[in-house]
Structures are given as structure tokens and as C-alpha cells.
């Protein structure tokens, strides 16, 4: 009697199913989101995303806690959802500049871009997946807390009345969060495409936001044309767009509050398009092999 055993099964050909390039984009997007958030990376890489995310959820948790503890919560003035973004905008600001450049800068520096472009992804698919990942990650911050508040209040019975109102409210939460995530995400992508050094991109994003605020608001104060210069303020622009989604305007806010809704929304969308176009233009010019 002989006993047959396989010691080395050698190399096996793969005959199983294969997905197309579309799936590759999903895989890349998920991978990028994980990396940006610092998952499976050193503790140092987790610090900034974890702290900014935590802090941005703190007000939401406090609201929910207060509403749950106080007996007559419907009398409680917890402010409008729009004001919530004013509370956390510094955190979104820090997150955008410190964390999001990781999405594309590191790939070029570490040579991974070469491997990606040698896979079924091409340059456009690569960038699209990266942008989607950035928007999703930023969305955790910009959609997450307000959505949490909405759901908690609904469960407690102090949310919007009726299915239609609820859906409208839900839609506003999503649209506001997406508007902010897409705008700052596109800005981050455009600036990150300029340099392979992640830290340099961080500095550039941070400074460009600060400077745009100083210049936009300064010009709006003095110039003839007046308030429409407030559109240059890249911190206030997406925030003001959120107010308009709720049909309001920021009363104690920057000059941009005086500008009409249509110019605000079209500037927002226009700038997103310009940023994305710029990143694409840069990537068409990058040589990867050799």
C-alpha cells in the first residue's frame, strides 16, 4: 500500500472569474479610503484623522445626550443643522489639509502609481477612484454628525414630521455634506497633483484656504462690486452653499451671505470642475516608468 501525498502543488493556473476595470476602481477606492484614515498603518498616521473625526462628532453626541437626558427636549434650542458646520469647519479644514493629500501624493512617491497604471486602471479611472475615496472619507465628517443627529432625533420622536419632510431633511443633510466634501476634496486633489511630497501639499492647501479667506473678505469689504468678491473665500463658499440648501443665509456671516444663491452654487460647481480638470491635466503629463 502506498500513501500518496502532494508535497509541492507547484504553480496553479487561475481559471476562476475575473472582474473588469470597473471593479478595479472600487478596489482602489476602498484601499485609498482605508489608507487615508490610517487603518493598517502606524499610530502616527492615525493621530490626525482620529482626532479631527472625534472632535467633529463631539457636538453631535452632546446634542443627542442633552436631548435624551432633558425631559422636555422639544423646547430645547439646539440650533439649526447649518450652525453645526460652523462648529466643525476648523476640523474639516485640518482634515482636508493634513490627511487627504495622502490619497495621491504617496502613490507617486512610493512608485505605486507605476503598478496601478500597469493594472487595468488608466489615468482617468485612477483619478476618479481617488476622488471618490476622498469625498467618501470627507463625507464621514461632513455628513456623519448631522445624519447621526437626524436619526437620533427621529428615534426620540423630535425629528421632522411626516415621511416627506423627513426625506427632504435627509436629502438636505446628504446634499450639504456632499457639497462640502466634493469642494474641499477637489481642492485637495488639485493641490496634491502638484507635488509628490504629501507635507508640501498639506501646507499648500492650508495656506491657500487661509489666503483665499483673507483676500476674498478683504476685497468684499472695500471694492465697488462688493460682496461677490466674497465668493473667493474658499472656506465660506461651501458653508454658504449649505445655508442655501437649507434655504437660509448666514446672518452673522461673511460678505458672501449677501450674494444670490445661483452665483454661489454655480461658483461652487464651477470650481469643483476646474480643480478636477486641473488634476487630470497634471496626471496626463506624469511619466511613470523608467
Amino acid at each position: 500500500m502506498t500513501e500518496a501525498r502532494i508535497h509541492d502543488r507547484g504553480y496553479l493556473a487561475y481559471d476562476g472569474p475575473r472582474h473588469g476595470p470597473g471593479r478595479a476602481m472600487v478596489v482602489l477606492g476602498c484601499h485609498t479610503a482605508q489608507r487615508v484614515l490610517g487603518l493598517k498603518r502606524s499610530n502616527w498616521q492615525k493621530v490626525m484623522p482620529a482626532i479631527t473625526l472625534l472632535i467633529s462628532f463631539v457636538p453631535a453626541i452632546v446634542f443627542i445626550g442633552l436631548a435624551a437626558l432633558l425631559p422636555d427636549s422639544s423646547d430645547l434650542d439646539l440650533g439649526e443643522p447649518t450652525e453645526y458646520y460652523g462648529l466643525i469647519v476648523w476640523m474639516v479644514f485640518l482634515f482636508t489639509s493634513f490627511v487627504t493629500p495622502e490619497a495621491i501624493c504617496t502613490d507617486r512617491r512610493s512608485g505605486l502609481l507605476g503598478l496601478y497604471l500597469a493594472s487595468p486602471l488608466d489615468r482617468d479611472a485612477y483619478l476618479a477612484a481617488k476622488f471618490a475615496a476622498i469625498v467618501v472619507v470627507l463625507g464621514i465628517m461632513t455628513i456623519g454628525p448631522t445624519l447621526l443627529v437626524l436619526i437620533a432625533f427621529t428615534l426620540e420622536g423630535s425629528g421632522p414630521d411626516g415621511a416627506i419632510d423627513w426625506l427632504v431633511e435627509f436629502g438636505r443633510v446628504l446634499a450639504s455634506g456632499l457639497a462640502m466634501a466634493a469642494f474641499w476634496g477637489a481642492l485637495s486633489l488639485a493641490v496634491s497633483s502638484l507635488t509628490t511630497r504629501r507635507a508640501l501639499a498639506s501646507v499648500a492647501i492650508f495656506v491657500s484656504l487661509l489666503v483665499s479667506a483673507a483676500v476674498g473678505d478683504g476685497l468684499a469689504q472695500v471694492a465697488e462690486a462688493g460682496d461677490s468678491f466674497g465668493l473667493l473665500n474658499m472656506i465660506a463658499l461651501p458653508l454658504e452653499a449649505v445655508y442655501r440648501i437649507y434655504g437660509e443665509s448666514n446672518e452673522n456671516g461673511p460678505p458672501i451671505a449677501e450674494v444670490g444663491t445661483l452665483p454661489i452654487l454655480s461658483t461652487l460647481i464651477g470650481l469643483i470642475a476646474v480643480f478636477l480638470w486641473f488634476a487630470r491635466w497634471r496626471y496626463q503629463r506624469i511619466e511613470v516608468n523608467g
Partner: protein, 474 residues
């Protein structure tokens, strides 16, 4: 080494006695002893055997953890003067990319205080069969050209000991053949040429292989003695003044890039724009003081100082090109002062001038002088701070950004106690004093508002200088 021995036979040019080097738990070189004289010697061993570490210890780039390495009778780590007689081509590919090949080799010659650096560089470049008149920057060089220019900077000052780490990788067969002939020529001239390689068939061409004690296999050609011990380096000394002009020039060159110039131009434009806005504002004094303060001392000065200061030595450390400064007989503190001077003289005049002009445009009395003083102090303090940061941390840019964003801009709003800890509040109070506009952070005594930024800048320089003497380059 006794005097009698020296007269009987020439002392070994390179001597290792029980030299070991470990990094944490990793032992790179373990108890190696040998001595080498003139001729071509090959260090052979697999990757990770410690060849590079050994060569680095011979050139003073690393300190043996145990035992000693002496070159021409001296410790190359403690006595930088002996570096004048050593030439080295490190393994790494990175070069001072912003220089042309000729400038790169000339720099080596200047730092070695060769009599005619231009001529010496030309000769060395021709020796390795490159074109001395090639105006292209090193960043465009191919692998083979990089190898050869590295060799040129190693031989430009006619050293007695030449250490070459993997000099043949990346060369094609014809170039290899010529390189090996060059090594033999140098060896025959009485130089001690030490070549490391992990490719066996390369080493066989260096000469018959002989066995060395302690698992170091060395190939070695015939030994020819020419140099006598007392002419080795008796006339050398490592003086270099307080600011080494050549290193200063290199750091300035490394600072200049299109991106930085664009950033500088853009921020300058913003400063001028804000000044014009201030002229038209309802309360020009208030707006002008605030915008000069918040823009000049909070954004312009710190961020430009961050970009340039953290890169000045930080980039040299990160891409390991600091080695091309380290191999030269230059006192280490002169490197620190040269880098600081370079950062200041690139950032300082431009930022201060732009801000002063902007302050003058606003037309507010007393503001230009105060802005000039405040910006200059901010630049000085932040440059020193970020120079030290750049040397200390790998992620200096990110840490610096975090420092500015969180510590200086966010935390200082929490109250006066925090504001006292932020550097920017001191120069800002000069502006506040000048125009009487109350800025939230700015309430410091006049003396403190001058002394504190100066002290911070100098502390940064002192730390950099101290840290440099301890830096090992891997």
C-alpha cells in the same frame, strides 16, 4: 603605533581594530580587524554584510560602536582634517540635483580647499570620461553618469585614500572595463583604493583574491608604496571661518525652485493687495494693522520660513546628500551657520521688503517701520525654529504645519496664557504698539517683543549646530 614601526615599514593607510557597528539590535559590522596599504583592495560580501557601514566608518560618516577605525593614523570621525586626504563615492544614487556636474565637482574641490578648484574639477571630470562643459543639471543624469560623477568628486582633491561603494553598478560592460583600469591606475600611483562590490565576477577583475581574517574576503593588487608618512596631511587644518561660503551657496541654490518662487510671488502679491484694500477700508489704521499682523507675521513669514528652513538641512538629510558636505574637512558648526545664513538671506530680505512696501502703501503713520521690525523678527525666529525642526524630524514639514495650525493659530486663541507661548504674538505686539490698534494676542512689553524672537532664532541655530556634530549619515 610606535615611532620605530613607522620607520621600519610604512604604517597601514587604513586600519580597523576590532571595529563593530550596531544599530539597535542589528549588528552591521562585527569585530573587524585589518589594515590596508596602497593598491586596489576589494571588499566582497553579500548585501547586508556591512561593507557600506565599514566604508562609512572609514570616512567619518559613522562612528564605530566599538573598536577603532583609523585612516592615515587619525580618527576620521573626531578629526575632520584627515577628511582632506580621503575621497569617497557613496552607494546612494542621490546627488545635489540642482547643480551641474561641473559645479558639483567644483564644490568638492572648494570645500577641500584645492588650489585651483576649476582646473581640478575639469581634470577629474575628464578622468571619468564625462564632459566638463556639460551644462545639464545632475537631475538629468543617467545611472552610469551618476556613478562617474560620484567618482570624480571622490578624486578631485587627489586624496590618498579612496573609498568607493559599489562603483560599478549601473555601468555597461565597456564602462566597467574602463573604470577598473582607472582603479588600477590610481592604485599604482600609491593611492589606497578600496572598492566594495557584491558581484563576484567584478571583483575577480581587480586582481587575485586573497582571504582576509574575519570573513572579509578581499581582493588586492600589488602594493606599491610611495607616500611617506610625514607628508600625508601635516599641512592640513580644518579651519573654515564661521560661515562657510561654499556651503552657504549650495544651500541657497537648493532653496531656489520654481514652486517656491511662485509661492513667494503669490504671497507677495497678496500682501500688496491687502495693502491696497486697507487704503480703501472704512478704518484704514485698524484694517492695515490687522492685515499686516495677521498676514505678515502669521502667514507669510512663518510659512515661507517653514518651507525653506525645514528644507535647508532637512532635505540634505532626507535624500542623504548631506554626505557630500560631510566628507569634507569643514567644521560642523560652520555648516549650521551657513545653512541659517542661507535661509535668512533668501527669505529675510524679500519678505521684509515686501511687507514694508505693503505697509507703506497703506499710508498709515509709523506702520512701515514697525512692520519691517516685526516681520524681520518673525522671520529670524521661525527660520531658526524650523531649521532645527528640519534636522530633528523626518516629517518636519508636517510637524511644522501642525505647529503653526494648531499651536500658533488655534490654541493661542484659548487665552493670554497660551498666547504667550506662541511666537507670533511677540512681533505682533510691535505693530500693536506702533498704531495703537488692540490685537487680541498682542500685549507684550517692548523688550520682550524683541528679545524673545531673537532668542528663539538663536536657540534654533545652537540646537542645529549641536545636533549636526552627532549626526550619522546612513
Amino acid at each position: 603605533m610606535s615611532q620605530a614601526q613607522t620607520q621600519a615599514a610604512p604604517p597601514p593607510m587604513v586600519q580597523c581594530s576590532g571595529a563593530s557597528k550596531w544599530f539597535g539590535d542589528l549588528v552591521a559590522v562585527s569585530d573587524v580587524s585589518f589594515s590596508i596599504g596602497a593598491g586596489v583592495t576589494a571588499l566582497l560580501g553579500p548585501n547586508g554584510a556591512g561593507k557600506s557601514t565599514l566604508l562609512r566608518m572609514m570616512c567619518g560618516l559613522a562612528r564605530p560602536s566599538n573598536g577603532s577605525v583609523t585612516v592615515l593614523g587619525n580618527n576620521p570621525r573626531a578629526d575632520v582634517a584627515v577628511l582632506g586626504r580621503i575621497g569617497m563615492a557613496p552607494q546612494q544614487e542621490s546627488l545635489l540635483d540642482y547643480l551641474s556636474g561641473r559645479e558639483f565637482v567644483e564644490l568638492a574641490a572648494q570645500l577641500h580647499r584645492v588650489d585651483n578648484p576649476v582646473e581640478a574639477a575639469r581634470r577629474a571630470i575628464q578622468t571619468v570620461e564625462l564632459d566638463p562643459d556639460d551644462p545639464r543639471r545632475l537631475s538629468t543624469y543617467s545611472k552610469g553618469m551618476r556613478q562617474r560623477i560620484k567618482l570624480a568628486q571622490a578624486i578631485v582633491h587627489d586624496p590618498l585614500v579612496i573609498a568607493l561603494d559599489e562603483p560599478l553598478t549601473g555601468l555597461d560592460p565597456r564602462q566597467r572595463r574602463e573604470m577598473i583600469q582607472l582603479f588600477h591606475r590610481l592604485g599604482a600611483e600609491g593611492k589606497c583604493v578600496i572598492v566594495s562590490s557584491h558581484v563576484l565576477d567584478e571583483v575577480e577583475r581587480f586582481g587575485p583574491v586573497t582571504k582576509m581574517p574575519r570573513f572579509w574576503r578581499c581582493a588586492r593588487s600589488t602594493t606599491i608604496w610611495r607616500a611617506s608618512s610625514d607628508t600625508w596631511w601635516a599641512d592640513d587644518s580644518a579651519s573654515g571661518g564661521t560661515v562657510n561660503p561654499h556651503i552657504y551657496r549650495v544651500v541657497v541654490r537648493s532653496q531656489i525652485s520654481t514652486g517656491r518662487l511662485l509661492a513667494l510671488a503669490g504671497l507677495s502679491g497678496v500682501a500688496i493687495l491687502l495693502a491696497f484694500i486697507a487704503r480703501a477700508a472704512d478704518d484704514p489704521v485698524e484694517f492695515a494693522t490687522r492685515s499686516m499682523g495677521t498676514f505678515g507675521t502669521n502667514i507669510f513669514a512663518p510659512f515661507i520660513a517653514l518651507a525653506l528652513g525645514s528644507a535647508a538641512l532637512g532635505n540634505l538629510v532626507e535624500d542623504r546628500t548631506l554626505v557630500y558636505v560631510w566628507l569634507r574637512p569643514v567644521p560642523r558648526h560652520a555648516v549650521a551657520t551657513a545653512a541659517f545664513a542661507a535661509v535668512l538671506s533668501v527669505v529675510g530680505p524679500i519678505v521684509v521688503a515686501v511687507m514694508t512696501v505693503a505697509a507703506a502703501i497703506t499710508g498709515v503713520d509709523g506702520l512701515p517701520a514697525a512692520t519691517a521690525a516685526a516681520t524681520a523678527l518673525a522671520v529670524f525666529a521661525y527660520s531658526g525654529l524650523f531649521l532645527a525642526l528640519g534636522l530633528r524630524f523626518k516629517r518636519s514639514l508636517l510637524i511644522g504645519l501642525g505647529y503653526i495650525a494648531i499651536w500658533e493659530l488655534l490654541m493661542s486663541r484659548l487665552g493670554d496664557w497660551f498666547a504667550r507661548l506662541s511666537v507670533r504674538s511677540y512681533p505682533m505686539s510691535i505693530l500693536s504698539d506702533a498704531t495703537g490698534v488692540d490685537m487680541r494676542l498682542a500685549d507684550r512689553s517692548t523688550l520682550a517683543s524683541y528679545i524673545v524672537p531673537l532668542a528663539i532664532g538663536l536657540a534654533g541655530l545652537a540646537y542645529t549646530s549641536w545636533r549636526l556634530t552627532r549626526t550619522e549619515i546612513d
